[in-house]
């Protein structure tokens, strides 16, 4: 991770991962760095030649690329099975053409199959609950039909 943005200014910065350990340099390594620092607006310039460790050199900081890739892969595969609604909605919005027709038919077919297998149950249940919650009246208020408008309470 870069130090271009001061540490802590991004919401993804965790204090324990701050690449802040200062390593003082030997004179031969320092000369080159001093030239670079002289050109930059380094607030730590008075500390003498030094460099800050990279994030991956901070003790205890674990790499996250494999972990997040695995998480995204699991989630994507699970969603292909459990969220055929999104696939069908996307396919239905494609322009009508001979190229898109098989895509639309495959997406709709998978949506039907997933429904028959009970894979759409989670989304269907949440949709049903959301519909009921949208229609829920205030205590003492008569439930409305199709028209949700009611007179204002006094």
């Amino acid at each position: 991770m870069s130090q271009g943005l001061p540490w802590g200014d991004s919401p993804i910065d965790l204090p324990e991962e701050e690449p802040g350990e200062v390593k003082f340099l030997a004179p031969e390594d320092a000369a080159e760095l001093e030239e670079l620092q002289a050109e930059s607006d380094d607030t730590d310039a008075d500390m003498g030649p030094h460099e800050r460790s990279h994030a991956w050199q901070v003790p205890g900081v674990r790499a996250g690329l494999g972990w997040v890739s695995g998480g995204v892969a699991v989630s994507t595969l699970a969603l292909l099975g459990l969220n055929s609604h999104a696939l069908a909605n996307w396919a239905d919005q494609l322009p009508v053409a001979s190229v898109t027709a098989p895509v639309v038919s495959a997406a709709d077919g998978w949506h039907d199959t997933a429904g028959a297998l009970g894979l759409n149950a989670v989304v269907d249940a949440v949709e049903g609950a959301a519909k009921a919650m949208r229609k829920a009246p205030w205590p003492g208020q008569k439930p409305s039909g199709g028209d949700s408008e009611t007179p204002a309470p006094d």
């Binding site: 991004s10 204090p15 990279h54 890739s69 994507t76 949208r134």
Partner: protein, 467 residues
């Protein structure tokens, strides 16, 4: 291409994989990110990609001329800034300008008129233009290193922040572009939390409030009761916060997964106890941009006579309002904020000795209601409509009532997250990072299924896309 859609999901997975496969490929990684950003932007309208490219070339050229000819640096700086403002002005204000000028010609009985062109507003033009201006100014002032054309084009086009910010400073992003990226588990988990929370805020809270309450009430305020109008006004305050901050959260999260750190853009703004405090919490990247480049850079900031400081504050906020579009209501929105900021400054300066300080809860109450009042002007297209709505509230008119426990619950939820722990995202990130990858995948799946079921029919575009 909208973040909370299937198309973007597929797009991001491809970019994510290529980004990390090419992590040591130097310029080729930047080229890949640039092409991906053009595809993302071209999804809205492919013609705008040329504008984006032209704008990057213009700013790169201006910076090169500033450095090559320091004696005329100020002239090149002015030329660069003016060129950026002309682009912005043409797309945002040309239609308004020609309409007003032609109306004036008509009223004077002149037989002349400016050509009327149907100008389509490119998505995010204000954001990338501001990014370009900050690059030219920062190079002139020595706050940023000059960028190569490729780097500047990536800086301005990078898809996570391209259409609605956060406005990332060149000095913050250029060093990151030049480094080999690395992703810690903490950064990855907080990025996932930001994306998930952003999705809930946009696809559930903002969408539900917009469709079930705000849009029906604000499109026909004369038929609604005063109570409905008050609740819908609170609803809009929460809707615009959830909509806009969701985009920022997701942008920061997606950039984080690609190995980039973007700055925070929102910090629980509705817990502010003064307008000054509010602007240190709302749309921080624009707020700091206006402070550095307009309030201090153009108007001189606070190190001058009090009346000039007040004028600078007021002028900055009015221009900030006008930045949103050519409309009287945006000017009034800016003037209300500017007026309150001036009033606060004067009160700080001239508060009589011994007078008690305003309790924090009263400061919060006043600030929230001033901000909500200003949002009414921001939301309504016409000045008369906004004043008529406020008039109906003031005279407590009767009418229909559509606010439901569900929509009020959404307002309460949106408000409650303003008062949670400020580091809630990091705390959740820490909890997530101890889980194995498959459990994270399942948590993500469950969240997306809940959002899919709750979000109703589709997702509306982000409100700030129009700016």
């Amino acid at each position: 291409m909208l973040f909370p859609t299937l198309v973007f999901h597929g797009f991001f997975i491809i970019v994510f994989a290529l980004n990390w496969l090419m992590r040591r490929a130097g310029d080729w990684r930047q080229i890949m990110l640039l092409v991906a950003s053009w595809i993302f932007y071209g999804w809205f309208d492919s013609r705008f990609v040329l504008l984006l490219l032209g704008s990057a070339f213009l700013n790169w050229g201006a910076a090169r001329l500033i450095l090559a000819d320091p004696a005329r640096g100020k002239a090149w700086l002015s030329a660069g800034v003016i060129a950026n403002l002309l682009i912005l002005g043409f797309f945002k204000y040309y239609g308004f300008f020609t309409h007003e000028v032609n109306a004036a010609f008509d009223s004077l009985g002149w037989n002349a008129s400016l050509p009327v062109i149907d100008v389509i507003l490119p998505v995010g033009v204000s954001f990338f233009t501001f990014q370009g201006i900050s690059y030219v100014v920062d190079v002139y002032k020595g706050r940023s290193e000059p960028a190569r054309l490729l780097e500047l084009t990536v800086l301005m086009s990078f898809f996570p922040h391209l259409v609605a910010g956060p406005i990332v400073r060149p000095g913050h992003l250029l060093p990151q572009l030049r480094e080999t990226p690395w992703l810690s588990r903490g950064a990855a988990s907080t990025s996932l939390v930001l994306i998930g929370w952003g999705l809930v805020k946009k696809a559930v809270i903002a969408n539900e409030l917009g469709m079930q309450l705000v849009d029906p009430v604000f499109s026909d305020p004369s038929s609604h009761s005063a109570l409905d109008l008050v609740i819908a006004s609170y609803g809009y305050a929460i809707q615009i916060y959830c909509d806009f901050s969701a985009y920022s959260d997701m942008a920061i999260g997606f950039a984080g997964l690609l190995g980039f750190r973007f700055p925070r853009n929102f910090d629980q703004p509705y817990r502010a106890t003064s307008l000054q405090d509010f602007w240190r919490r709302w749309h921080l990247s624009l707020s700091f941009w206006l402070r550095d480049y307009l309030y201090i850079g153009v108007f001189g900031g606070s190190r001058q006579a009090l009346w000039r400081t007040c004028l600078a504050l007021f002028g900055t906020m009015v221009l900030g309002g006008l930045w949103h579009g050519a409309s009287v209501n945006f000017v009034i929105w800016g003037a209300l904020h500017g007026g309150m900021l001036v009033a606060e400054r004067l009160w700080q300066q001239f508060r009589p000795e011994g007078w008690p300080r305003l309790p924090a809860w009263a400061g919060w109450f006043i600030t929230f209601h001033v901000v909500t009042l200003a949002w009414i002007f921001f939301r309504m297209a016409q000045f008369q409509d906004a004043t008529a709505l406020i008039g109906r509230i003031a005279t407590w008119q009767q009418g229909s009532f559509i606010a439901s426990p569900w929509t009020v619950g959404m307002i309460v939820l949106g408000m409650a997250c303003q008062f949670g722990p400020p580091d809630a995202i990091q705390r959740l990130g820490r909890r997530l990072q101890v889980l194995p990858f498959w459990a994270v995948g399942l948590v993500g799946t469950l969240l997306l299924l809940l959002v899919e079921g709750l979000r109703g029919a589709g997702v509306a575009p982000f409100i700030y896309f129009q700016f």
